[in-house]
C-alpha cells in the first residue's frame, strides 16, 4: 500500500466506519434527514448562524455526560452519579470564587479565580469518581448500585453545604456561556470538541482504552490475561468524574450559579444518548462517533420542534416525547436489521 493510499484511507475512515456499522449509518441518515426536514420546514430560522450558535451551546453538556456514560458502559458498568458530581463540583467551585474574589476585583484576579475554580472542580470530580471506582472495583459493588448510592450521597453533601440554596459565582464568568469563537462557535462546543478528541485518542490509541473494551467483553478473561481490572475500572470512574467536572464548569459559565438540584434529568438523557449511539450497555462495544451523531440528532430534533411548536403551549415538552420515540424507533429498526442479517 502506498502512503497516498494510506492517507486516503484514513481520510475516509469515519465514512467507512459509518458505512460498515449499521447503527452508525442509521444515525447518520437520521441526522441528515432531520436536518434537511427542519431546513425545509423553517428555512428562515433553522439553517442560520444564530441557530447554529444556539444549538452549539446547548448540546455539549449532555454530550459530555454521554461520553462519561459511554466509558462506564464500555466496561459493562454505568455511572448514575454524573450529574450529582457536576453539581457538587460546581457548588464548591462557585463557593471558592465567591470567597476569594471580591465583586470589584480586577479581571486578572478573575482569571486566577477561574483557574482555581477549574482546579477545584476537577479535584472534586476526580475524588468523587475515585470513590465510585473504589466501591465498584474494590468493594465489588454492582456499578448501578454503587453510583445510585453515591448519586444520593453527593447530592446530599451538596445540600448540606449549601443548605439547599443556589450559590452565585462571579458575573464575569458567564463569558463561557456567551462568547463565540469566530463569532460562530460557542465555547461549550469547543470544549466538547476537545473532549471528543481527547477521548478518541484514549479509547482508540492507548492500552488503557483497549483494556476498557476487553474488560467489557469478558472481565474474567481480562483478569486472567493479567490486566489490572480494578485499576482500569477506577481509572474509568475517575475519568467519568472529571468529565462531570467539565460539565460543572459549563453549567457555572452558563448560569453563573450552581445548585444541588440542577438538571437531574440529564442522567437519563445521557444514558439515552449513549444507547442511541449504539453503546452496548452490557459492555465491550461503542464508538465516540456514535455519541456525536446521536447528540446531534437529538439536538436537531429538539431545536426543530421548538421552532415548529413555538406558539403551542407546552411545546417545549414535545421534544421529550420525540427523544423517547427516536430511541425506540432506532432500537426497533436495529432489531429488524439484526434479524434480517441473522436469516441471510
Amino acid at each position: 500500500m502506498t502512503s497516498q493510499e494510506t492517507a486516503r484511507r484514513s481520510d475516509t475512515l469515519w465514512m467507512r466506519l459509518i458505512i460498515r456499522d449499521g447503527n452508525l449509518l442509521r444515525l447518520f441518515i437520521a441526522c441528515v434527514l432531520i436536518f434537511v426536514i427542519m431546513t425545509l420546514l423553517r428555512p428562515e430560522v433553522f439553517p442560520t448562524v444564530e441557530n447554529f450558535r444556539s444549538m452549539g451551546s446547548q448540546f455539549p453538556e449532555v454530550g459530555i455526560l454521554a461520553i462519561a456514560i459511554m466509558i462506564a458502559m464500555l466496561t459493562g458498568g454505568i455511572d448514575l452519579s454524573i450529574v450529582s458530581i457536576a453539581n457538587l463540583s460546581g457548588v464548591l467551585a462557585a463557593l471558592l470564587i465567591r470567597t476569594v474574589i471580591p465583586a470589584d476585583a480586577p479581571d486578572a484576579l478573575v482569571v486566577v479565580g477561574l483557574i482555581g475554580a477549574v482546579a477545584v472542580a476537577f479535584a472534586v470530580g476526580a475524588l468523587c469518581g475515585l470513590f465510585n471506582g473504589l466501591l465498584i472495583a474494590r468493594v465489588n459493588l454492582t456499578p448501578i448500585l454503587a453510583t445510585l448510592g453515591t448519586m444520593t450521597l453527593y447530592t446530599g453533601i451538596t445540600v448540606v453545604i449549601t443548605r439547599g440554596n443556589a450559590v452565585f459565582a462571579e458575573n464575569r464568568l458567564t463569558f463561557i456561556g456567551n462568547t463565540y469563537l469566530f463569532d460562530l462557535i460557542p465555547i461549550p462546543m469547543l470544549i466538547f470538541a476537545v473532549v471528543v478528541a481527547v477521548f478518541s485518542v484514549i479509547l482508540n490509541r492507548t492500552a488503557f482504552g483497549l483494556k476498557l473494551y476487553l474488560i467489557g467483553t469478558n472481565e474474567k478473561a481480562a483478569r486472567f490475561s493479567g490486566i489490572d481490572v480494578p485499576r482500569a475500572l477506577i481509572g474509568t470512574y475517575v475519568l467519568s468524574g472529571l468529565l462531570s467536572a467539565v460539565v460543572a464548569i459549563i453549567f457555572l459559565g452558563r448560569n453563573n450559579s450552581a445548585k444541588w438540584d440542577f438538571a437531574p434529568s440529564y442522567v437519563l438523557q445521557a444514558i439515552l444518548v449513549a444507547v442511541l449511539a449504539g453503546v452496548n450497555p452490557s459492555g465491550g462495544s461503542g464508538r465516540l462517533l456514535g455519541i456525536v451523531l446521536a447528540i446531534l440528532a437529538l439536538q436537531f430534533v429538539s431545536t426543530g420542534l421548538n421552532m415548529l411548536l413555538l406558539a403551542v403551549s407546552g411545546g417545549q415538552f414535545f421534544k421529550e416525547f420525540a427523544w423517547g420515540a427516536l430511541l425506540l424507533i432506532i432500537m426497533v429498526i436495529n432489531y429488524f436489521s439484526e434479524r434480517r442479517r441473522a436469516k441471510g
Partner: protein, 496 residues
Amino acid sequence: MQPFLSLAHISKTYAGVRALEDVSLTVYPGEIHCLVGENGSGKSTLIKIIAGVVQPDAGQIVINGKAMHHLHPIDAIREGIQVIYQDFSLFPNLTVAENIAINHELSRQKRWVNWQEVREIARQAMRKINVQLDLDATVGEIPVADKQLVAICRALLQNAKLIIMDEATTALTEREIRALFEVIHNVQREGVAVLFVSHKLDEVLEIADKALIIRNGRVVLDADARELDRSKLTYYMTGRNIEEAIFEWQGDPNSPPLLQVRHLTSLGSFEDVSFDLHPGEILGVTGLLGSGRTELALALFGAIPIDSGEIVLEGQPVVLRSIQDAVAHGIGYVPEDRLTEGLFLERSISDNILARILDALKGAGRLLDRASMKATTQEWIARLSIKPPHAELPAKSLSGGNQQRVVLAKWLASKPRLLILNGPTMGVDVGSKMELHEIIKQLAREGLGVIIISDDIPELMQTCNRILLMRRGRIVERFERRQITEMDLTQRLVAV
C-alpha cells in the same frame, strides 16, 4: 422388540453446507447408545432433529412405531424424548426441588404451586435413580455433578423414554463420571434408552451398548460397542490413525531448576506442596476435581492467596499477591474454560493475542504502536497456524482448536518463562488435540517450563515427562512418565 426410535436416511443441508447425509439410527428401549464424532461432524444437528428443533430435508422419523411427518419439539417431548443440554438448562436461582419438578408442573398446566407436592415429586424422582440431594439447596450453589443429576431427575419426570445427553461429562471428574454411569445404568433399568453424545473415547467404550460414529455428516460406523477398541474408534472418528509421539525430556536433572515450590499451602485448597521444574520440562499435575490441582495452578498464577511456603523462580524467591505479580515474573496461565476465562469472543483475533502485552506495545507518547501490534499478531497467527489467518475476525468465529491456539498465542506473545496449562485440550476434537500437543512439546524443546493440569490421563502420558498425583490437597505420588503405564495411572487416580 419394537425400537423406540428409528431414523432412516436423514439428510440436512444448511445454506448449501451439508450437515447430515443419509444418516440412519435405531434405538431400542433400555439401550445405551453412543453418538460419537468430532466437533462439527453433525452430532448436534442430529440431536436437534430428534428433539424436533430442526426439520430434516429428507428421511423418515419413526417414534414408537408412529411415523412422525413433521416432528415439533412439543411432539418430541410428548413422545418421551428429553434432551439434557451441556448447560443443563437449570434455574440457578431456584431450589433443587423446584428445578426437578417445574417442567412436570408446567406440562400438567397447573396454575397454582403446592410446595408440599413439589417436594414429593422431586423426592420420588430422586428415588428412581437412587440419588440423594438437598431439596432446599439453591441450584446455583451446588456442584456441577449434582446439577447434572437434577437435570436427569427432571427428564425422568417427563416420562422420558429416551434421554439424550449432550457431552454430559465435560465438566465432571473421573469419580463423578463413575457415579454418573451408575445413574445411567439405573435409568436403563427403568426401561429408558439413553443416547450419549460424546467425543471422549474411553467413555464410549465403557458405557455404550452400541455406538454410532459420524464424520462429516455421514455414518462411518454403526456397531456393537464390544467390537470396538480405542484405536479403531480413533480411526473411524478422524479418518486416520493417530500415532502420537511421546515426549522425552533431554535436559539435565541436575541443572538449576526453573521453578522450585517449597511446602506451599493455601488453607482449604492444598497443603505442603513441593516440587521442582526444569526449563524444557513438561510436568503433569493430575488429580480429581477438588484434589487441589486447579487451586495449585491458580496459586502459582497469583490468583488465590498462599498462606505459607515458598515459590522460587530461577533462584529468586518470589511473592505472588496478584495475577499481575505472576505475570510480571513471566508466568502464564491458560485457563480450564477458555470461553469464560480465556477469550474475548466478540473481539478480534488480534485483540485477543495482544490482550496480555498491551502495556508493552506503547510507542511514541505512550500511544499504542500500530505497526508492532500488527507484526506481533501476524507472527503468532503464522507460528501457531491459526486458521483462518485473518487478524480482524472475531474470536467467536473460530473452531475450538483454533480458539485454544489464540489463547496460547496470547501467552506466548508475552514470552513467559513458565506456562501453566489447565486442561489444554478440553472440548477440542481429536485431530486438533494432537496438533496442540505438538505445539506444547515444541515450546518445551525451546526451553519453556510447562505445567499441565489435567485428568485426561492419555493426554498426560503423551505430553509429560513427569507426573504428580494430587489427592485431598496433597501430592501423594510422583512418577517419571517412563515408569508408569496409562492403565496404572488411571487406577491410582480414581483410587480413594
